[in-house]
């Protein structure tokens, strides 16, 4: 039928549409907000699943917006990576907002909750847009929407911290977008195309003629997307933004938003830029070193934090390093590991943030040192946190292990065991800051502050449980998701 043909468009358009319906609903039928939002995201999720199956069965396909063929119209390219990322975004996004439907009531003022759903849907739509678009300018537009929506869901909680963090995030993100747009301009200048496919065809020729342009564009792209993805020295905005936001926002920001830019970067680097250029310029080398530093220093920063969300935020810096490590190593296994880590980290980090949110919801305590004994009073979030922590450390049968396995294997494949050492040291550091929390949660003298928490509603418990099952499940049966990741990696590497 017609509808299924237009899925790639609808997956973006439906949440976009409902995003703008939401303020109306908020005034008119307040109780409909949540179901409608969930419905919209469920639709996207189903669409993503369907697309994923389609991709797996029949291979990548494209969708032309308004039936305009590529050089002129906007093309949505559904390849393995896109389908995979869309699936991750919609799936995890769904669970987060499900959880948020209760948590937000306590974190936000009643009148802005409708707007929150608007922003959230916008965010989801734009993220899906970023990963499935095959047009660089379209990508830029989605990037900007994403940036505004992401800042929006931070600043919607009108505390000083949130607003400042949002402002900072906005400014830096605009800087990043500016760099990205400049890069787009430079690329367009030498190729005359905005479509990835055509650009990629034209670039080798252009490289011979205008190498400088390409290099500048490359640098701008990496810095631009790096700022948004919080790659190590450009991470400065992240800890504030992610820790001050409402918990669902933190979850979606850490779990999904920064990953989307990584996906965008993977696409541009692997599919658009000619391989010779990457061979000539030490781009990958730089990314490797940046990500190694991110991994180590992010973990080190996280160790000294006392605020649970800030710690998680710093941990995200380290984890995004893993993704980029996989990108930078340029071997199949490593790329698989990196891409897989996008998914795994989305699961883990959203779970951790949601669990942290549950702690805050229940007890109002944010300090790690005061969370002792939380495992007795809030067992389910504590167990979820525990699983997340183990996954972060890379204990087998959790999903974190699988991505680490592939990353390590990849680093060996290219003969650079040093990076494996980086991964292992970082895992150790992860152990240093995650495990004491788990231990304190379950053993030892409980603190008074956590003695009588508010009971958690089902809407918050169920997503947490699903996520923790997911972490275990994809640790035991990673092949379900690995198939698509493998093909994505192969496609990206041109194998």
């Amino acid at each position: 039928m017609n509808l299924s043909q237009h899925l790639p468009a609808l997956i973006v358009v439906v949440p976009l549409f409902f995003a703008f319906v939401m303020p109306l609903l908020a005034r008119w039928r307040k109780q409909w907000c949540v179901p409608v939002t969930l419905g919209a995201i469920i639709f996207s999720f189903v669409a993503a699943v369907k697309m994923a199956f389609q991709v797996m069965n029949t291979g990548p396909f494209s969708y032309y917006m308004g039936d305009w063929p590529p050089p002129w119209g906007i093309e949505l390219g559904i390849d393995y990576l896109a389908a995979f990322a869309a699936l991750t975004i919609t799936g995890v996004g769904l669970l987060i907002i499900w959880y948020g439907s209760k948590d937000l009531l306590h974190e936000l003022k009643a009148e802005v909750i409708g707007w929150y759903y608007t922003l959230y849907l916008l965010l989801i739509a734009s993220m899906v847009g970023i990963v499935i678009t095959n047009d660089i300018f379209n990508m830029f537009v989605f990037l900007e929407i994403c940036a505004i929506a992401a800042c929006g869901i931070i600043s919607i909680k009108e505390s000083r911290d949130c607003i400042e963090a949002a402002f900072k995030y906005l400014v830096l993100s605009v800087l990043g977008s500016g760099a990205f747009l400049l890069a787009v301009a430079m690329l367009y200048m030498v190729t005359g195309h905005l479509n990835f496919t055509f650009m990629a065809e034209a670039l080798p020729e252009a490289m011979a003629l205008y190498p400088n342009n390409l290099l500048v564009a490359l640098a701008l792209l990496i810095v631009g997307l790096g700022v948004k993805a919080a790659l190590f020295p450009l991470h400065v905005w992240l800890p504030d933004a992610h820790s001050s936001a409402p918990s669902p926002s933190s979850a979606v920001l850490s779990a999904l938003v920064i990953k989307v830019y990584a996906v965008a970067m993977i696409r541009l680097l692997y599919l658009v830029f000619p391989r010779e250029l990457l061979g000539m310029a030490p781009v990958m080398e730089i990314i490797l070193w940046m990500s190694s530093l991110a991994i180590i220093i992010g973990s080190m920063f996280a160790i000294v934090q006392d605020d649970i969300k800030k710690m998680l935020a710093y941990s995200s810096i380290a984890q995004i390093g893993y993704v980029f490590l996989g990108v930078g190593l340029m071997s199949e296994s490593a790329l698989v590991g990196g891409i897989l880590h996008i998914f795994n980290h989305a699961l883990m980090k959203s779970m951790l943030f949601l669990a942290a949110g549950a702690f805050i919801y229940g007890t109002g305590v944010r300090k790690l040192s005061e969370l002792k004994g939380i495992g007795h009073t809030m067992p389910i979030p504590a167990i979820a946190f525990c699983i997340g922590a183990f996954s972060m450390v890379g204990i087998p049968i959790t999903s974190g292990f699988i991505s680490k396995w592939y990353l390590a294997l990849g680093s060996l494949d290219v003969g650079r065991p040093f990076f494996m050492g980086v991964i292992l040291i970082s895992s150790l550091l992860n152990g240093f800051y995650y495990l004491p929390i788990v231990v304190n949660a379950f053993f030892g003298e409980p603190e008074k502050a956590v003695a009588k928490p508010k009971p958690l509603p089902k809407q918050m418990l169920v997503p947490l449980t699903i996520l923790s099952f997911g972490v275990i499940f994809f640790g035991v049966f990673p092949s379900l998701i690995l198939g698509i990741v493998y093909r994505a990696a192969q496609l990206l590497l041109g194998l």
Partner: protein, 127 residues
């Protein structure tokens, strides 16, 4: 490369060159000013520089705006960048609006739009 050559090349690429200079000015504004509004202005300047750069790409020397009239055969400029930049401008405007609204909120909280002042009020890191 002699200076003349450089100058000539700069002249040939003057649009780009000046766009970049504008970009740097914008960036510098953003970088150095404490006043949040000025920062937003700098941001806009920067954006505009990029837009100009983009539009300049599409410019063909001696070209005209691509309004097709029957029978007139003329060099046209490339319309696509201009069209794209319209979108870009919209985006920039919305970002600006959003940033300004944030500044208003900040002003409500602190009674100032100076980053320094805000920091002083927060107390955490008085300069």
């Amino acid at each position: 490369m002699t200076i003349t050559e450089i100058v000539l090349r700069l002249h040939a690429n003057s649009y780009y060159f000046f766009a970049i200079i504008l970009f740097i000015i914008g960036f510098h504004t953003m970088l150095t000013h404490n006043n949040l509004i000025k920062k937003v202005i700098g941001m806009n300047i920067m954006d505009m520089a990029i837009f100009l750069f983009f539009v300049a790409i599409g410019y063909v020397r001696g070209g005209r705006s691509p309004i097709l009239e029957p029978g007139v055969n003329h060099t046209f400029i490339n319309p696509l960048p201009s069209a794209l930049i319209l979108t870009g401008i919209v985006v920039a405007v919305s970002v600006t609006a959003y940033a300004l609204s944030l500044i208003i909120k900040l002003y409500k909280h602190y009674g100032t739009i100076d980053a320094e002042e805000i920091m002083r009020i927060r107390g955490g890191g008085s300069l």
